[in-house]
Amino acid sequence: MAQRFSAKYVIIGGSVAAVGAIEALRAEDPGSPLALVTEDRVSPYSRPLISHYLTGERDLDGIRYRPPDFYSRLGVKTFLQTRATRIHFPDHCVHAEGPAGEAYEITYEKLLLATGSRPARPPIQGLEAQGVFSFTSLEDAEAIRAFLPRVKAVVVIGGGLIGLQAAEALSNLGRQVVVVEFQPRILSPVLDAVASGYVEQAFAAHGVRILTSAAAQRVLVDSAGSVAGVALKDGQVLPCQMVIVAAGVTPRTELAGAGFAPAPAPGAPRAIGVDERMQVQADLQASGGAAVYAAGDAALGPDLLSGAARPLPIWPNAYLQGRVAGLNMAGRPTRFRGGLSMNSSHFFGLPVVSAGLFDVPEGADPQEWEVLTLSADGTPPAAARPGHAPRVGTSSSFAVRPGARPGRAAARSGAGPGHPQVPVASGAGPFYRKIILRHGRIVGLVAVGAGIDRAGVLVGAMANGVDCSRCKEDLLRNPGIAAFPEQVAAAMRTGRFGSHWWMAGDREER
């Protein structure tokens, strides 16, 4: 017999979206029963930090996202290492199975699906071999670490953020690493060619080979069933003892059922459709009157810039969605106005960020769009040679010597009128900043090295739809709120304007 439990709020999933929801719920409703079902065996930890765990820079405590007593402090009844197997919507009941196979039936008034995503499995032969790992969970990292002693060389399939993090960590652990990227450049979903080039340069400088426009066809397996190498489509064979598969993630929608998980666009993964309150669409007839919410990687929320629904499997977005879901579940009506693609990473100490668009879309009207770039005038990375980066409309660029300290021009200008300061890298290193504007509003940002400093100002302008047509060059050179029209700057100085762009509701007007 299944053990029965009942809670006002039930959350499935134990990562960031769940944390966002719990923190919102408990701020609004400190007392009502709240239960959480997660496959994780520990309190919330930070998935982006597993590479640090892998290298041993941090132990488990070092990568906890919240203190170990997080659940108990907030009064959350937890079912750890427990897998939700089925949801019976008419009965408002979650069926789950514990680590020892015990069965639970947990009824809810309000349910949040924060089930996240799972690594995608590319069509490559031999992925079942020993030594093939994905890299998205603590358990992945532990498994890799346990396997590492036999490993000299690693092939990372996928030059995305996860793959590159794994590659960096393994390289730092002294392994020879080759990254195999199907696209002509790494990080192509989040960076423009210039930035990709900087990153490739950084990996190359640390002895990591990156093969672009390359496709892994088959994992070679030795007699013991262990990885021996990777064969590429072009016939090249990369000997290795470990393969990391990092070819993207797929939202976990199975609990919701197909009816709630439409495919948003051709080629995009299915995810759970939600409305602006993060409530699962069409829930009313299916859920028997109880509200069901979804948030995080599993949810298909709106994109702030385009307004279209699209999965946005990034950490901050998951928290925000979880928060909005939690506020609504607790009875505080709040709208999620949309997530913003926002990526920040650093490889071998090189910071790279992007937000919104990173390139002007093909076929865009040059009258509407504008790209402004600012870069160091050192050797441009191979991929960043002129012509490589698309330029549309008016474009300006400002050159700064790499490694130069604040220069004469800046120093002389003082704070006097008409002398904008030219920002420069704080020390030697690449510098790149690019903003994309449409109708005078920022819709895209890419920055590398010291170019990322105060990038949030540009993201804020983007998210808040500030008209930057008169201050765009100041913003490019010196992202700061002083560049904005005084009304905007004044509102931002007092904190009244800036950080609420993602939500609407009574909280916003506070």
């Binding site: 130069a404 604040p406 120093a411 003082g414």
Partner: protein
Amino acid sequence: MKSFVLNDFIVERDDRRCIRCQVCVRQCSFEVHRYDAELDQVLADEEKCVGCQRCATFCPTHALTIRSSPREFRANANWRPELLMDIKRQAESGGVLLTGMGNDKPFRVYFDHLLLNASQVTNPSLDPLREPMEVRTYLGAKPARLRYENGRITGDMPPQIQLETPIMFSAMSYGAITYNAQLALMQAAQELGTLCNTGEGGWHPDFRKFRDHVTVQVASGRFGIDQDYLNQAAMVEIKIGQGAKPGIGGHLPGEKVTPLVARTRMIPAGTDAISPAPQHDIYSIEDLSALIYALKEATGYEKPVAVKIAAVHNAAAIASGIVRAGADVVVIDGVRGGTGAAPKAIRDHVGIPAELALAAVDRRLRQEGIRNRASLVVAGGIRCSADVFKALALGADAVYIGTAALVAMGCTLCQQCYTGKCAWGITSARPDLAKRLNPDIATRRVVNLVRAWTREIKEMLGGMGINAVESLRENRLQLRAVGLEDWEMDVLGVKGAGM
């Protein structure tokens, strides 16, 4: 033309202390300092340094010392370096030398040659901390006598201004000083219970709320004057002359007539604001009387009307005429009075010291039996509480301070007011410089100064065994001279020390 003018100042930077924070670079409004990235050093263009000490004051590591340049030529007691430099400047420009602030030439400062009395044995000194010390002062004409009728004291009492300290702020117009500086003076006047003078630049609408503490000026330019201007103020002052530049008018160039200045002065923005040398409706003493009574008519005889003149040779006779012309207050502005801009030749060579003029005027009015018919205010070079004290003993009812108030705010007398680049935000024309003066801090500083002086005045009063300032006024017996000639002591009406 190659300039032959040598630097006035030397910038010494202790490189061991310089952290390259560039605060000096940003603080120097004369663009002396600059950071050189290649050298990673802050460099100085000393030619431009005016010695305002802004950078040295703000350097967080005290790495800066600004020293006078020795500019040493073959010694010549007659042709001093300053004169040589002036000649070279004029040879290169053909222009009149302009300067700011008051006369800096070493004419005798009579205050420094007067010493004060104190009680010993025959009368007690009073403790000013614990016992009452009254410095309240009333400005305005007093009747010769009062009458007593049925329990009421009556008299034909002209309007009076009550001051809680005999120290007022002299005329400095909005335009000559910044909005913040004038705001600070008005706030300070309100807090201190004294008066601030608008100068002749009009009266900014924002400042009307200080009306009970504002003297408005009617000068040759007649800027911003209307019925409200006159009637909302506590006192009206006709400015005939100014100690720093007797006989000279003024000129605010059109580019400084910003929309706000224009609104304050009630003239179109961008037009020159000219203050003629004379008031063209006053070519004689009876014309002054006509203006005085015109202002009294305009204000319903409810405001004292002051007349301010520069201290000149026959000040006593002029003052007598002013009193007889109907003025309620006579202001004597001495040769050391400050200014925002004046031809150097005028500033340094026209007029007489305030002390002598004051003593002569007070004595003359008393001899003529009309001293009660006007209060006497002295201005021009009041530098400390002792100066105030001595001025009162010489016969003043109150004093004006201008320079001292500005110094309290930060002024270092670099004399560059007329350039509009005041690094201290006091006379600056540039808005980014003007906001350097936080009006609330400036108010506090000025209030502190006047409070401190007032306390010191009370200390000195107490030392004399006097507990009300009216017992000091004209009490020249409390003064003794050291190092003065007989004629000077005669003018001042004081004996030599030991007599």
